[in-house]
């Protein structure tokens, strides 16, 4: 185990970690609004990545296809909230979970039906050669980290500094008071789903060149994202992001030097169980300070 090899694995871990971070963030955003984990988040990302594939195959250049896909994902996410989630808003938790799983299965089989289960390659917008003379990390990995960080910064700015972002946070926390100041809470939830789906689409498009495109591509990744979200604290967006990078690095280091690549997915499971046992609120989970 040379230092070079460790650096290599850490950087590769940061690249996949960025993907986990994005997806974990999408999970946290929906959790904030509904207090439920959207098990279909990975399949939504997978499905929109296929849409990007179709656009690119139809001759559209990469970046326009990328942006159009993000837009389509946003609308699809809003649509799913309005059509599928809204009617079960007040249903018991188990009912909603069943709806999430149904959504997962449906998206998976529709993707298989349209695009078949044959594995497809997905282009990367970044050059094949390592850039900036850095040989530890491929241009795609570096690019994926950059795109992830850009998305995270955009989201942070949106939630932190815009009135709409503030209203979305308010609606998730206190729907009743939000209505009393005129916030259309229903639309804020739909908007949250749209944003989560858009973030997921970016994650899907960044990971697809690495894992290739097939209807089941996101199942393992969602597990890591779930572990990341739990590790960071399921109600903490910043924690989810840090958790994502941490899980990515941990997964790569353990896979390369300790348990081997075949057992890597077990890392996610062990993390999930471990966090739930030791610190259910996660590393950055909020301890709500309230006074009466």
């Amino acid at each position: 185990m040379t230092l070079d090899a460790v650096i290599l694995q850490v950087l590769a871990g940061l690249a996949t970690g960025g993907i986990y971070a994005s997806l974990a963030l999408a999970l946290v955003m929906i959790y904030h609004a509904t207090h439920l984990v959207n098990f279909a988040q990975g399949e939504m990302a997978m499905f929109t990545t296929y849409i990007a594939w179709s656009l690119i195959n139809a001759g559209m250049p990469y970046w326009p296809a990328f942006l159009l896909t993000v837009g389509i994902a946003f609308i699809l996410g809003m649509f799913i909230e309005r059509i599928v989630i809204r009617p079960v808003e007040n249903a018991p938790v188990l009912g909603v979970v069943v709806v999430f799983i149904g959504l997962l299965v449906i998206l998976n089989s529709v993707a298989g039906w349209i695009y078949t289960y044959t594995i497809k390659s997905f282009p990367s917008p970044f050059p094949r050669q390592p850039i900036l003379g850095i040989h530890y990390i491929s241009a795609h990995e570096l690019g994926a980290i950059g795109v992830t960080l850009a998305v995270l910064a955009l989201l942070y700015g949106f939630f932190r500094f815009t009135p709409l972002g503030l209203a979305m946070r308010a609606a998730a926390q206190n729907p009743e008071s939000s209505r009393l100041v005129g916030i259309r809470v229903g639309w804020m939830l739909a908007l949250g789903w749209g944003l989560a789906a858009a973030v997921g689409a970016v994650a899907g498009m960044m990971v697809a060149p690495v894992v290739y495109l097939d209807p089941n591509m996101m199942s393992g990744i969602l597990l890591y994202a779930f572990a990341a979200a739990l590790l960071g604290g399921i109600d903490s967006p910043g924690g989810a992001v840090l958790g994502g990078f941490a899980v990515g690095v941990l997964e790569n280091l353990l896979g390369a030097f300790v348990i081997g690549n075949e057992l890597k997915l077990a890392v996610a499971l062990v993390l999930i169980v471990g966090v739930l046992l030791v610190k259910p609120s996660g590393l950055f989970g909020r301890v709500y300070v309230t006074r009466v």
Binding site: P163, L166, A167, R169, A170, Q173, N174, E176, S177, S178, R179, L180, V181, G182, I183, R184, V185, R286, Y288, V289, T290, R291, V292
Partner: protein
């Protein structure tokens, strides 16, 4: 008329709580709703905002608002300081105030109103960056009134704004409410346990018992009513 209510019924599920309440308010006037615990005061305010199932007519400045959504009613200019304050606990005090002005597009006026609110409640200025959940009970009460004020309302519904305040602060709050009423030209529908102070502030008052209006009149008349005096003023 600012507000006209007639034949108002309200229920929580199958439990009927309000049985045909009616009253009216002039523009810029202050009306007090008095009554014992559980009489239906909070429910009446919630009914006006579409937060419970209602029957009957509610007109705000001539326009029917019964059956409209809570969001739409707020956007018409009705600000509710709810029972329990309704603080956004995990946001800062300033964010709470800015949310009050969420539906307004007149940015410059919003900034001016923020200053005006800090003028009424100087304590809040010092605490503007503090997480609202960590404000003291009294500060949260001021924050709730301020948040409602930021909506630039025509009508404020105040559900026990003095709840949990020390006697001196109650006096101060009522003085501020009077100032707000005079300067901002906003009508107030005031629910209070503190009947004496409410009647001093109000123009008119309604006494509610088990979901019905049992007495109404000018605040001065109500204050002189023997039954009210014994039951609610305690002398």
């Amino acid at each position: 008329m600012l507000l006209e209510v007639s034949g108002l019924h309200a229920a929580y599920g199958a439990t009927r709580v309000i049985h045909g309440i009616g009253f009216a308010m002039e523009e810029k006037s202050i009306t007090a709703l008095l009554g014992a615990n559980g009489a239906g005061k909070t429910t009446t305010l919630r009914a006006l905002c579409g937060m419970v199932k209602t029957e009957g007519q509610i007109r705000f400045r001539g326009e029917r608002i019964d059956g409209r959504s809570t969001e739409d009613i707020a956007r018409l200019g009705i600000a509710h300081v709810p029972d329990g304050r309704g603080t956004f606990l995990n946001l800062t005090a300033e964010e709470n105030l800015r949310l009050g002005a969420y539906t307004r597009r007149d940015r410059a006026a919003v900034e001016a109103d923020l200053e005006r609110v800090f003028g009424y409640f100087p304590q809040l200025r010092a605490r503007r960056a503090q997480q609202a959940g960590t404000l003291s009970g009294g500060e949260q009460q001021m924050l709730a009134v301020s948040r409602a004020l930021m909506l630039a309302p025509k009508l404020m519904l105040l559900d026990e704004p003095s709840f949990g305040l020390a006697p001196l602060l109650v006096r101060e709050l009522f003085a501020i409410l009077r100032a707000i009423n005079e300067r901002e030209r906003v009508g107030m529908l005031l629910v209070e346990q503190n009947a004496a102070m409410a009647l001093d502030l109000a123009d008119r008052a309604y006494l509610i018992e088990t979901g019905r209006v049992v007495l109404s009149g000018t605040a001065a008349d109500i204050k002189r009513d023997d039954a009210v005096r014994r039951a609610y003023l305690g002398y």
